[in-house]
Symmetry: C2
Subunit: 208 residues, 2 copies
């Protein structure tokens, strides 16, 4: 049997660079799977079911919710979006490490459903740098940037519910640290209850 | 100001190879300091005060205990042995990562005094391997080995109070993992309360 993979939830300030971080992490290591979201919105041109999203209708999504088959979900502009448990569980049981890039409300839902989940929060080195990155995008109005900064203040209040802070200053360093933290989670005592039980049993048998 | 170092307590089954692990870890990286124990026993030939041990008399040791200046201590064959807090604190405040190789009763005393301490437990891959290593030493009677195995059963009961298990199968791998786990502890949310507070303050000032 393959050792169970680690489920990692990655959140972070908007502008912290978590999308780039996740993309680089996955491209550099072949042990990671990105979770696939489920949604009730219609597929856009080129989007494939089971690759970009799992597309299902509203009734089916609500049945999934009521049957506890969503790790997390939210409604946004009239459509449901969420993470189906089955896909994640299948990947984990095959020994793959699953990455879930979601916001904090979803992160806390996941942690409640699967307490083994590792919660990481990505932040730039300073608020100034966050602002600089948001402005550097050149795609957003000052009003929109202000909204994102306000949202960041809200997020700063709940960072302490995460387990690790990833300071995304140098991207390569951040990718390396993220990989190490996830891989070393496999050695946490809470994930090794079965091993501890087994070695104790063996010790007792050996002493006789 | 240098970032505060990490205090790591390393325990493990007798025969797990923790001494070798600690020695290699310290020789490969220059950020670690080994804690220096304090004792009431007399110095042996060649032992230097403040290097091998801090040698003090019984009254002074007991005064240290009553004044809360020992991170942990125990009495063994009529002499006190323990870890003075001051030396450890000085190293940590200079940004050095301190390694404390002690048994579990001491480890739990340290964790109570300094909850930030990281508790690692070293184990061989199996009970058979533990037995093989103990016999391989060729220095101990079967009775003594049996005692160590019994002690290991006792230790297996408290491993779950540690934070990480270090499987010492391949020494180089184990040294690397130990180093990574200790260094990444610096990114745990619980160690970054000040940074989170600061970035929140900055965000609020930026939004104005």
């Amino acid at each position: 049997m393959k050792e169970r993979g680690v489920l990692t939830v990655i959140s972070g300030f908007s502008g912290a660079g978590k999308g780039t971080l996740v993309k680089k992490l996955i491209s550099e290591h072949d042990n990671y799977s990105l979770s696939i979201s489920m949604t009730t919105r219609s597929p856009r041109a080129g989007e494939r079911d089971g690759v970009d999203y799992f597309f299902i209708d509203r009734d089916a999504f609500e049945r999934n919710i009521s049957e506890g088959r969503m790790l997390e979900y939210a409604e946004y502009v009239g459509n449901y979006y969420g993470t189906p448990r089955e896909y994640v569980e299948k990947q984990l049981s095959e020994g793959r490490d699953v990455i879930l890039e979601i916001e904090y409300l979803g992160a806390f839902q996941v942690k409640k459903m699967l307490p083994e989940a590792l919660l990481l929060f990505v932040t730039p080195p300073s608020a100034d740098e966050l602002l600089r990155r948001l402005r550097g995008r050149n795609t957003e109005t000052e009003d929109k940037i202000r909204d994102r900064m306000k949202r960041a203040i809200e997020e700063a209040d709940i960072v302490d519910k995460y387990e690790y802070i990833l300071l995304n200053d140098d991207l390569d360093t951040c990718v390396r640290q993220t990989h190490e933290i996830i891989q070393n989670a496999k050695y946490s005592v809470s994930r090794n209850a079965a091993f501890i039980k087994e070695i104790k049993k063996e010790l007792i048998e050996t002493v006789g």
